[in-house]
Amino acid sequence: MIHSHIKFYIAASLPAITPVIAAESGLADLSLRINNTWLLVATAMVFMMHLGFATLEAGLTRSKNTVNILFKNFGVLALGILTYALCGFGVMYPDFIVGEGMEWIGFSGWGIGLPEGYDAANFQTGEYTYWTFFLFQAMFAATCATIVSGAVAERIKVPAFLIFSAIYVAFVYPWLGSWTWGNGWLADRGFHDFAGATVVHSVGGWAALAGVLVLGPRLGKYVNGTVKPMIGHSLPLATIGVFLLWFGWYGFNGGSVFSADPEVLSRVFVMTSLSASAGVVSAMLWSWIVQRKPDLTMMLNGALAGLVGVTAGADVLGVRAAIIIGTVGGILIVICVSGFDKLRVDDPVGALSVHLVNGIWGTLAVGIFSPGHRLGIQLLGVIATGASAFVMAVLIFLVLKYTIGVRVSEEEEMSGLDLGEHGMEAYTGFQIFTTQ
């Protein structure tokens, strides 16, 4: 360990024979070094979003399903990374060379790895290595699957969820993503989705909607025309989750700059912060007016609304637009959370209001506020991506429904998926009312 770095250092400083050339290539080398390191730090931050999702979703659901939701969120991260490595990455970025080193899996061309003689560092852009790019993308892919987890919580069978996630991350998400990020037809038309309000969040949101519709509402949620709230069991967990998501979003949006360019990167950080803050304050005030008391869970979702919304255009929007996007997002949350309930669309954690609705809103907002982009194209991207995502998600869920089944038995749902699916309790020893 203590020796190993020395060779790298020498590599960087030795070839000083022709100083000017050395300085030139040294500059490029250092530039790569900075940008790549930032991107890896950003990757680790996006990783934290998965803990954020896990705790947020656990907090907003009932204690009898907590092990299950932690399981799903943790499992889908691992499964997502592996699936994306095996196949998703190749689908999403057709121009990247992949496939060497994994022929043993049975399908040449799949998997990740550099062919002999290629250099990960100066692989394509000179701003980051092949490996960095893969991992950052893999974290995004897993995020998309995690969004579904919360919406289908408290009733989906574990195998159904895992299979759905694997297929979605392996094929659907990367295929749709390639339209915008893989030099596809939406990119060609000028569709702008900076860090994935549509490509990640809406695509996840549409799958969540598909899941919710195929599964139906939780038992006892809508009784005789009234909505029976099923209250989340731990708001500290939920709050921890949103803080971590916000933290991770600096990596999610900041990493999407794909370099450490000071001007752009710092703008992205500021716009992200302002939009999130505006989402919090507007959801707070709006829920205060509508529900007569300021609702913590609405504020938490409000922050996420602002974050999702600004994701589409954090690189091209100004202070005013960021604040407006967040403010509208916060209000949308309060409206949509009850709105979906009125439509009997049962989304335990507000994933649809956050990721789907605000993913759409944020993507359109780029067309509204950024002079360089057209609302029509933005709308096209939203519709094309959304419709495809929804149709495919519904298809997968329906196939699962009529094969292995998607929903746990009534009895299991009543006693909780923790006992039913995992034979475990989240809080052993605690005396807890599991009457809901």
Binding site: G220, M414, S415, G423, M424, Q431, I432, F433, T434, T435, Q436
Partner: protein
């Protein structure tokens, strides 16, 4: 006056409350409990080791009633709680000698409702 103690399945509480409300029995006290009964428990594994779980989650309801309400109350509890499966629970009835409303100091039958 009688004191009714009922152990029911947690997820039947709402139905029991509903059934009681319909019979205008609106006063009750509820706690969680672990119960061991005919439902002999089940086996689980935790980190590879076997666990015998024979204390299952139950809800304990305590209701003080005047005699005329006794049967109605019992019936309402049964109606709300019965699923026909093992584990539905038990109702116990005891004699209640006195009842005092703390707020007013009322005693006996008047204090119960």
């Amino acid at each position: 006056m009688k004191l009714i103690v009922a152990y029911i399945q947690p997820h039947r509480l709402n139905a029991v409350k509903q059934a009681l409300f319909e019979k205008e029995v609106v006063k009750m006290s509820v706690t969680t409990a672990l119960g061991c009964g005919q439902q002999m428990g089940y086996h689980e594994t935790y980190r590879g080791a076997d666990i015998e779980v024979n204390l299952l989650k139950k809800i304990r309801i305590e209701i003080a009633v005047n005699e005329p309400f006794l049967q109605t109350t019992i019936d309402a509890i049964i109606q709300g709680a019965r699923t026909g499966k093992i584990g539905d629970g038990k109702i116990f009835v005891m004699n209640l000698e006195d009842c005092i409303r703390i707020r007013t100091g009322e005693v006996g039958k008047d204090a119960i409702g």
